[in-house]
Amino acid sequence: MQILKLIAQRIALGILLLFAVSVLIFAGTEILPGDVAASILGQSATPQALENLRRELGLNEPAIVRYFTWLGGLLTGDLGTALSNRMDIATSIWPRLKNTLFLAFWAAVVSVPLALILGMLAVRYRNGWIDKAISGFALASTSLPEFFIGYVLIFFFAVKLNWFPSFSTVHEAMSFGDRMKAIALPATALTLVVLAHMMRMTRAAILNVMQSAYIETAELKGLSQFDIIRRHAFPNAIAPIVNVVMLNLAFLVVGVVVIEVIFVYPGMGQYLVDHVTKRDVPVVQAVGLIFAAVYITLNMIADIAAIVSNPRLRHPR
């Protein structure tokens, strides 16, 4: 089967890419001046103490060996130890990753269907006032910086109306309802940020398909405009749309730093920012690799979706 081969190729490429990124991340931190031992002990450390710590941490081994030790740890779920607080990185990342994915999931659940429906509506009423209003609203919300949107939401919905908390702190003991209430504002802000891109792409991709002869066939069957868009245009526009949707989903996971900081949401972004300021290299490496993995996986899914949505590949002659 040609299609299985294509999909297997994509997956293999994705894994290869992930390894390449891990090399880059490792090499990047290798190039930086100083090493982990110097960062731990500070500037006043004696050469003997540095030497001892280096031996203890295995820093005297060649870079290749250390890379594979690090990689081996990653593959077995050991992300190493944070320098700043000597905590196991994996145990401190896990709850934060869950929080980030929770927020991203609900932002995606709202924004993706909304973007698709708005895109189809814009095509249905193309060049009319509904189309212009949708495009105008979506573009405006994207052009505004996310911190601005965040503060506007806090000002109205938390301060003035008091509907939602302005701090989105969540913890293990919270009920699902409380959690949802806590993430309402950051999820809204994220939705507004990613909406326009997906909606505009949906509109453009469908409009492109609307030129096809089979759209005329559908019109001459007496189908309504919206049925034509939904049944005949949309299935042929999936590939470009999925690509943009996945890019935005990836942004929901890795691009939330600003939003998490504004809403004091205990996710990956905040964790990353905290440790960047503390020059905690192993944490930055681990978070960077997780973000890279999210990006690569989602884009791989987009590629596979594009392959699967093509009937010529799904049903060869």
């Binding site: 066939t217 001459l220 189908l223 309504s224 009937p311 049903h315 002659r317």
Partner: protein, 552 residues
């Protein structure tokens, strides 16, 4: 209108004083309104077939689609009435029109391959209109569709509906589209050039299937085509259109046998060129010896052991259906697809297999003209730049010398100097093809490969191009390798003929010999499939066939 319309009762469709307009945007000028259809009136009785014929721009598709209150590409119906089943559908409103489309009137497009949605199974698309209008349940509609597939002699009628459009051949798709139109049991079907994109051998099957289906279901039809011989097989009456005006309306027999208008007469007597066959010489200009070529690193062999010769100043016509390897032969000769085996000798020297390894002289002396003239030219260059380019490239001509030669070439293709500064978009289809011919001639070639150069043109325009090519051959002593699927063209222009079938040359020799019986089965099929302007030809041709066409 030239003659009184025949008497009618039981009218299904009546178009009165139809006027259709569009806005055109000529480059560098303000938009202007143009009238595409000028006050055309026609009537169609229940169960009858009316042929609409004319060249491109005659307004035949536009008139056909007006019976569904549809204007393609921004065209506006601005006047007149379209009475269907006694009511004016132009006044039906958006919802009213939707209830008519796909229920009372259905449409069969020229290219079924483009008109089917690639994302859905055939059956889903075939029954869609019937379900949309609630005329049948899904099970009933599918049962009806399968019966129609059987009637249209599609292979495996019970399961073909589970296939996707790309899994079915072009001729089959055209029949599935006819089944789709018939499935909602409409009163009228608009057939818009349904066989034009098909090979002759496939066309005859589809034509017969459509004719039987029309007869058995009693549906009325508007049959749009530019081919009088085709419409003569199927229509009860014919309307001849030109530039959006009605030229002549009459019985099929009267139109093809006793046309009353000069223009109809021209259409009826098109493509008659008497070309005297030239004898073969001892030294061919191009000699293709035992050439085998394949796509996909030898996986799919598309040319098998092909050997042909072309003599200086003569024309070799290569005929066959699509997929027979005609264009691949051209690609092998030009080096675009390097042959796996065999040799190609040109003007006494052996040509390198790969295009990149060839000398500039080889490139210059071997030129090509393509089917789609408009995509073979850079839309951002003027005619003078397009023709001037080979002059600069091969001969290093510049400035006044080049301009003089461009003017000379424009003169040769019977276009004046005034065209030099025009862009391709400002030219008609025939003029574009003439510019391509001039561009090929500019290189002073000894052989020009013409790949279906007249296939996209109206018969009268194609006739002009063939005349021009023959005149140029006499003047410049250039040889042609003429690839075509149209046997009338072959008779007009060839000195020798190679008939290709599935990558092999099945018949080859001087024209007189190839076209004289006894024929091999394939040549017989090919020759007997060319429609003749004769009522009843279709039935005779079908019953006299010795082998089924490859598209089946």
């Amino acid at each position: 209108m030239a003659n009184p319309a025949p008497k009618h009762d039981g009218r299904l469709l009546e178009i009165r004083n139809l006027r259709i307009e569009a806005t055109s945007y000529p480059p560098g000028e303000p938009p202007k309104n143009i009238t595409i259809v000028h006050d055309v009136s026609l009537t169609l009785e229940r169960g009858k077939v009316l042929g609409l014929i004319g060249e491109s721009g005659a307004g035949k598709s536009t008139i056909g689609l007006s019976s569904m209150a549809y204007g393609r590409g921004g065209v506006r119906i601005t006047g007149g009435e379209v009475l269907l089943n006694g009511r004016d559908i132009l006044k039906a409103g958006k919802r009213g029109i939707r209830r008519i489309r796909g229920r009372e009137v259905c449409y069969v497009a020229q290219s079924a391959a483009a008109a089917f949605n690639p994302a859905h199974k055939l059956m889903d698309q075939v029954v869609e209109a019937a379900l949309q209008h609630g005329t049948a349940s899904r099970a009933e509609a599918e049962k009806r569709a399968k019966a129609l597939f059987r009637k249209l002699s599609l292979p495996d009628p019970d399961n073909i509906g589970n296939r996707y459009p790309h899994q079915v051949s072009g001729g089959q798709l055209q029949r599935v589209m006819t089944a789709m139109a018939l499935c909602s049991e409409p009163d009228l079907i608009v057939f818009d050039e349904p066989t034009t994109a098909l090979d002759v051998t496939t066309q005859i099957d589809v034509l017969a299937a459509i004719k039987d289906a029309i007869r058995d279901t009693g549906v009325a039809a508007l049959y749009i085509t530019h081919d009088l011989a085709v419409v003569a097989q199927i229509a009860d009456e014919i309307i001849v259109l030109r530039n959006g005006k009605l030229v002549e309306w009459g019985d099929t027999q009267q139109i093809i046998k006793e046309p009353r208008q000069e223009y109809t007469n021209q259409l009826v007597s098109v493509h008659r060129i008497d070309h005297q066959e030239k004898p073969a010489t001892s030294s061919p200009i191009l000699s293709v010896k035992n050439v085998t070529a394949a796509y996909g690193h030898g996986a799919i062999r598309v040319l098998k052991d092909v050997s042909v010769d072309i003599h200086p100043g003569q024309t070799l016509a290569v005929v066959g259906e699509s997929g027979s390897g005609k264009s691949t032969l051209a690609r092998a000769i030009t080096g675009l697809l390097p042959p796996m085996e065999g040799t190609i000798t040109f003007a006494g020297r052996t040509l390198a297999n790969r295009l990149a390894d060839r000398q500039r002289e080889d490139l210059r002396e071997l030129q090509m003209i393509y089917q789609m003239a408009d995509v073979a030219m850079n839309p951002r260059q003027t005619v003078a730049e397009i023709i001037g380019r080979p002059l600069e490239f091969y001969f290093g001509m510049r400035g006044r010398q080049r301009d003089a030669r461009v003017a000379e070439l424009l003169d040769k293709i019977e276009m004046g100097k005034g065209f030099a500064d025009r862009y391709p978009a400002e030219l008609s289809g025939g003029q574009k093809q003439r510019v391509c011919i001039a561009r090929a001639l500019a290189a002073k070639p000894r052989l020009i490969i013409c790949d279906e150069v007249t296939s996209a043109l109206d018969p009268l325009v194609a006739h002009g191009i063939l005349r021009l090519l023959l005149d140029l051959q006499a003047e410049e002593d250039v040889a042609y390798l003429f690839i075509t699927h149209d046997l009338a063209t072959v008779k007009a222009i060839a000195d020798s003929i190679a008939v290709m079938y599935r990558g092999e040359v099945v018949r080859y020799g001087p024209k007189s010999q190839v076209l004289t019986p006894p024929f091999d089965d394939y040549t017989d099929l090919l020759l007997s499939s060319v429609p003749e302007m004769e009522v009843g030809w279709l039935e005779r041709a079908i019953s006299g066939r010795r082998m089924a066409s490859a598209g089946n």
